[in-house]
C-alpha cells in the first residue's frame, strides 16, 4: 500500500509540478565519473565555464594551512603542454575573464567568455586537471604572492584579529576554525612537495564537477565535455567527511583594536550540519530573513527605527558548508560613548524574543513572498546561476533540492520557524564585541 501511495504521488508530481524548477538545469555524468551540470541561458553568446574540485582548506593536513590556496595559484603556472605563463596569455587573447578561488570545502576555476571559445576553455582546463607542471622558481614566486595576498586581504584589515579569533572560538578544533589563507608562518613553511601532493591527492575528474551556464544546449555540452574531460583517467580518491562539532559552550570575546573607530557586536550560534538540523534548513533561512534581512526586518524595525539603540542590524544563516551551520547576528550600536555591552546584549536578546512572540502566520507569508519575489533575477546573469548551483552541489545538496528552492521556502511553517528559534536558544554561542582602543585603554 505504501508503495502504491508513493507511486501515485510520484505520478502526480510528475504531471503537476507544484512549482517550476528554479534553473531548469540538466545533469549527467561523463564516462570517467565526472558530473556535469548545464544551465541554459541563450540571451547572449556567452558561457560561464566552472570546474569545481571537491577539495578545499578543510582537506589540508594540520600545519599545512594554505596549501589548497597556494596550489590554486600554481594552477596558473603552466602544464606539460602549456609552459609558464602561456595559460594566462591565451586566456587574455581569447578575451576570457578568468580567475579561481579557494574556500573551506571547494576550489574553483572559472571563466566567462564568448561561447565560441568554450572548446578551448575545456581543453585548457582539462589539461591542467592532470598535467600541471610548475617548477621551483614558480613555486617560490607564488609562495611570496599568496603571503602578500594574506597581508593585503586579511592582515591589512584592522578588524582581522577580531574576526579570526571569533571564528576560532566558535569552531574550536575544527578545520573550519582555521584561516583559508593559512597562517603567516604556515604559508612560508609550505614546500614544493606539499603543493604537488595536494594536487596528486585531490585533482582528478571524478573528484570534480563541471558547471556550464549560458548559451549551450545540454546535448552539445555533453558531447564536448566527453571529448575534453571524459578521456581523463579517474583516480582513486579518499576524502574524509568533516567531523561535526558537538561541544557545548558559551563564550564571549571582547577586543579593542588599534585603528578601529566604530563599535560592532556579533552573535554567532553553532548549529549541526545541514543534514542533522532539527527541521529543514529553509526554516532557519526564513528565520534569518524575518529577523534581520534588510531594513524591513523585525530587528531593524525594532532596534534601529523604533528604539534607536542601533544604527544597523543584520542576521545571516550560513548553510552552504559540509560542516556545521552557523546562524549569526551583527549590529552597530548607536551610542559610541560609554557603550554598555551587557545592556545592549540584553535588549538585543529581548528584541529577538519579542519579534518571535509577534510573529504571525500572515507575517511569515509576507517574508516568504519577498524571498521568492527576488528569485525572478537569478536566471538573468549566467554567472549568478552558475555560482548558486555550483556552491550548492559542492557542499552536498542535490540538483533536485536546488531546483525546488521555491518549494522549500513555501514549505516553511510558523511552527518550523519557532522550532528553529528554540534550537538557536539552545545552541553553543559566541558573543563578540569589537571596539576602538582609545575609549577602553584605562578600563582594561
Amino acid at each position: 500500500m505504501k508503495r502504491f501511495v508513493l507511486f501515485f504521488t510520484l505520478c502526480l508530481t510528475a504531471v503537476f509540478p507544484a512549482y517550476a524548477r528554479l534553473f531548469k538545469a540538466t545533469e549527467f555524468n561523463l564516462s570517467n565519473g565526472m558530473p556535469v551540470v548545464v544551465i541554459e541561458n541563450h540571451k547572449a553568446p556567452l558561457i560561464k565555464h566552472m570546474v569545481w574540485y571537491k577539495a578545499g582548506a578543510v582537506d589540508e593536513i594540520r600545519g599545512k594551512g594554505g596549501v589548497a590556496h597556494l596550489l590554486e595559484h600554481l594552477m596558473f603556472r603552466g602544464t606539460k603542454l602549456m609552459k609558464k605563463d602561456e595559460f594566462n596569455r591565451q586566456m587574455d587573447e581569447m578575451g576570457a575573464e578568468h580567475n579561481a578561488f579557494t574556500s573551506f570545502d571547494v576550489t574553483v576555476y572559472h571563466q566567462l567568455a564568448d561561447v565560441n571559445k568554450l572548446e578551448a576553455l575545456m581543453a585548457m582546463e582539462a589539461d591542467r586537471m592532470r598535467n600541471l607542471a610548475f617548477d621551483a622558481e614558480d613555486f617560490a614566486a607564488e609562495q611570496k604572492i599568496v603571503y602578500q595576498e594574506r597581508q593585503q586581504v586579511v592582515e591589512n584589515n584592522p578588524a582581522a584579529p577580531f574576526n579570526e579569533r571569533l571564528n576560532l572560538l566558535l569552531r574550536g578544533n575544527s578545520p573550519y576554525g582555521q584561516p583559508i589563507t593559512g597562517q603567516n608562518d604556515e604559508i612560508m613553511a609550505l614546500t614544493f612537495n606539499d603543493a604537488r601532493d595536494f594536487y596528486a591527492q585531490y585533482y582528478a575528474p571524478n573528484n570534480a564537477f563541471l558547471v556550464l551556464s549560458g548559451d549551450i544546449e545540454p546535448d552539445l555540452a555533453h558531447m564536448l565535455a566527453e571529448k575534453y574531460y571524459g578521456k581523463l583517467p579517474a583516480a582513486e580518491i579518499e576524502r574524509a567527511e568533516p567531523k561535526a562539532q558537538t561541544e557545548v559552550f558559551k563564550s564571549t570575546l571582547e577586543m579593542a583594536l588599534p585603528n578601529i573607530k566604530t563599535t560592532k557586536t556579533v552573535q554567532k550560534f553553532l548549529l549541526p550540519p545541514r543534514k542533522d538540523l532539527v527541521g529543514s534548513y529553509f526554516d532557519y533561512m526564513v528565520l534569518a530573513e524575518y529577523l534581520g534581512g534588510g531594513e524591513t526586518s523585525a530587528l531593524y524595525q525594532d532596534l534601529v527605527v523604533e528604539q534607536q539603540a542601533a544604527v544597523s542590524v543584520a542576521a545571516d544563516f550560513y548553510y552552504l558548508s559540509r560542516g556545521n551551520c552557523v546562524f549569526s547576528f551583527s549590529a552597530r550600536p548607536n551610542e559610541e560613548e560609554n557603550f554598555n555591552w551587557a545592556w545592549f546584549k540584553q535588549i538585543f536578546d529581548d528584541a529577538v524574543a519579542q519579534a518571535m512572540h509577534n510573529l504571525t502566520a500572515e507575517e511569515l507569508e509576507k517574508v516568504k513572498r519577498k524571498m521568492i519575489a527576488d528569485l525572478v533575477y537569478v536566471n538573468d546573469n549566467p554567472e549568478d546561476a552558475a555560482y548558486w548551483v555550483g556552491y550548492s552541489l559542492a557542499v552536498g545538496l542535490t540538483l533536485a533540492e536546488v531546483e525546488n528552492f521555491v518549494e522549500g521556502i513555501q514549505g516553511v511553517s510558523l511552527d518550523g520557524v519557532k522550532e528553529a528559534y528554540d534550537q538557536l536558544l539552545a545552541a553553543p554561542r559566541v558573543d563578540g564585541l569589537l571596539k576602538p582602543q582609545e575609549t577602553t585603554e584605562t578600563a582594561q
Binding site: K43, K80, I145
Partner: protein
C-alpha cells in the same frame, strides 16, 4: 693479409659498456624532452574547428523619445524583467552647495525612505514583495539610479518609483537615522588603510577642485543638512535636460516609450546646474605619505590622462591595457608580481570624469618589498614612455579587447548600465557596431605616440604605511 688482432683490455669493454649505456640512456632521457617540445595544446586549431565558432550576436540599440526625455533601448525578451539605468548629469558631489557636503548621498537614501502614501517601512515592503528594486547613487559628476522590476509588476514599479522621485517623505525620524548612519560611515572610513588612502589621494590629486570632496561629506555639514535642503537639491538638480536613460529587458519600443513618459515626464524641464570647467592635472613626481601602521604599505599614483572622445583615447586605452590593466599578463604584473612575488597585484586604469581625466594606478606590498616594487614601477613607466609597446603586444591587446566584446551582455542590468555609459561619454548610438573597429584601427605609431605623450609625465604618488627604514611608533 691477416689483420692483426687488437689486444683488448678490460678498460676497452668497460668503455664500450659505458658508451652503450650513455647512448641508450641519452635516447631515453632526451627523446621525451625533444618530443615534448613539439607537443602542445593546439588552441588555434581547436578554435578554428569548434562546432561553436559561428555563434554570433546582433544587438540593436534604438533611441526613443518622449517629449524632451530621450533614452537608449535594447530589447531583450529572454527573461520577463526590465532594467533601467539613469543619470542626472552635473548633479553629483562636485555640485553640492557649500557647507552641505554629503547632501547628495543623503538624498540617495532619503528618496527610498518613504514617498507619497507610504512610510519608509511600507515603501520598502511593497517593493520587496513585488521584486521591485529602486536604488539611487551618486558619483562626483552625476546623481544616478537604477530601477529593476518583473514585467508583470510594471504598474506597481511606476507607482513606487514616482513616489520616490516626486513625493519623497523626508520624515524627520528617518532623516535622523540616515544622518547617524552617514556619520558612522565617516568614522568607519578611517579604519582600513586603503580607504584612508582613497580619501587622502582625492585631496592630494584634486586639491582645490570640487573633485577632492568625499562622497560622505564632512561631519559638520552632515549634521547641518535639513529636509528642506534635500528637497531643494532634488527640485533644482534633477530635471529633464540633464537626464540620460538606458533601458534594457522585456520591453517593446512602444512599451518603453510609454514607460519613459510615465517615469520622467513630470520632471522640471531645466536643471539649474552647469558643467564644471575641465581640470588639467600637472604631476611632478611628488610623493606624500600618511604615516600609519599596517601590514602592508598601500600606494596610489596618477598622471593626466585623456577624455573619452579625444583622438588619443583608443591608442592610450590599448597602451594602458598592455601596461597595467590586462591582469596577470600586464607588464606591471609580470615584473612586480609574477617574477619577484612582491605584491598580490598592481594595476593601472583610465579614470575619466567629466572634468578630469587621469591614468591612475595602485598596489600594496609589505614594507620590505615596497622600495623594490616602486623601483620596478618607475623603471617600467620610464621604459614605456621611451620605447612604447611592441607590434606583438599591440596585436595581443587588440585581440583580447575585441574577443571580450560580448561579455558586456551578461546581465540585463549591465546592458542598461552600458546604454547609459554610451550617453554619458557621448559615444553615439552606433557605438556597438563601431567599437571593435575603433580598436582595430589603432596603429603602432599612434599607440607609441600616446605612450610617449602620457608616460613621459612623472606620476604623483601617495602611500599609507610605515616604510622599512622609518621609525615605528
Amino acid at each position: 693479409m691477416t689483420r692483426r688482432r687488437q689486444h683488448r683490455t678490460i678498460g676497452y669493454y668497460v668503455w664500450r659498456i659505458v658508451l652503450a649505456f650513455a647512448l641508450v640512456g641519452g635516447i631515453f632521457y632526451y627523446a621525451p624532452k625533444i618530443y615534448a617540445r613539439f607537443e602542445y595544446l593546439p588552441i588555434d586549431e581547436i578554435l578554428a574547428n569548434s562546432v561553436l565558432k559561428d555563434r554570433t550576436f546582433q544587438a540593436e540599440v534604438k533611441e526613443i523619445k518622449s517629449g524632451d526625455v530621450r533614452a537608449y533601448l535594447l530589447e531583450e525578451h529572454t527573461n520577463p524583467i526590465v532594467s533601467i539605468s539613469f543619470a542626472f548629469q552635473n548633479a553629483g558631489t562636485a555640485y553640492e552647495p557649500e557647507n552641505k557636503f554629503g547632501l547628495a548621498l543623503m538624498l540617495t537614501e532619503m528618496l527610498t525612505a518613504g514617498g507619497g502614501e507610504y512610510d519608509a517601512k511600507e515603501f520598502k515592503n511593497v517593493c520587496a514583495e513585488h521584486g521591485i528594486k529602486i536604488d539611487f547613487s551618486v558619483s562626483a559628476d552625476n546623481f544616478s539610479g537604477t530601477l529593476q522590476f518583473p514585467k508583470e509588476f510594471t504598474a506597481k514599479a511606476v507607482e513606487m518609483f514616482k513616489a520616490a522621485l516626486y513625493t519623497p517623505r523626508f520624515d524627520e525620524t528617518y532623516l535622523a537615522l540616515v544622518k547617524k548612519q552617514q556619520l558612522l560611515a565617516l568614522q568607519a572610513q578611517q579604519e582600513r588603510p586603503e580607504q584612508v588612502l582613497a580619501t587622502g589621494f582625492k585631496k592630494f590629486i584634486f586639491a582645490g577642485h570640487p573633485y577632492e570632496r568625499d562622497i560622505l561629506g564632512t561631519k559638520q555639514d552632515v549634521l547641518a543638512i535639513e529636509a528642506a535642503d534635500l528637497d531643494e537639491y532634488r527640485q533644482k538638480m534633477l530635471a529633464q535636460n540633464n537626464l540620460l536613460v538606458g533601458m534594457a529587458g522585456d520591453l517593446t519600443t512602444d512599451e518603453a516609450q510609454q514607460l519613459l513618459a510615465q517615469l520622467f515626464a513630470d520632471l522640471p524641464p531645466q536643471a539649474s546646474t552647469e558643467k564644471l570647467a575641465a581640470l588639467s592635472i600637472e604631476t611632478t613626481g611628488e610623493q606624500q605619505a600618511i604615516m600609519r601602521n599596517s601590514a602592508q604599505v598601500v600606494a596610489k599614483f596618477a598622471v593626466q590622462g585623456t577624455f573619452r572622445n579625444s583622438v588619443d583615447f583608443y591608442p592610450l586605452y590599448l597602451v594602458n591595457y598592455i601596461f597595467g590593466e590586462s591582469g596577470l599578463t600586464s607588464r606591471l604584473n609580470q615584473k612586480i608580481r609574477e617574477k619577484e612575488g612582491l605584491t598580490y597585484g598592481v594595476y593601472t586604469y583610465l579614470m575619466i570624469n567629466r572634468s578630469a581625466a587621469l591614468i591612475a594606478g595602485g598596489f600594496s606590498a609589505t614594507p620590505d618589498n615596497f622600495a623594490r616594487a616602486i623601483e620596478l614601477l618607475r623603471q617600467e613607466w620610464q621604459r614605456l614612455g621611451l620605447e612604447g609597446v611592441s607590434e606583438e603586444e599591440l596585436s595581443q591587446a587588440k585581440k583580447a579587447l575585441i574577443e571580450a566584446y560580448n561579455l558586456r551582455f551578461a546581465s540585463t542590468e549591465g546592458i542598461a548600465d552600458m546604454l547609459l555609459a554610451m550617453q554619458v561619454y557621448d559615444l553615439g548610438i552606433d557605438f556597438l557596431q563601431k567599437r571593435n573597429d575603433y580598436i582595430k584601427e589603432v596603429t603602432l605609431h599612434e599607440a607609441n605616440a600616446a605612450a610617449k605623450k602620457y608616460f613621459n609625465q612623472v606620476p604623483d604618488l601617495m602611500y599609507i604605511g610605515i616604510l622599512e627604514n622609518e621609525e615605528k611608533n
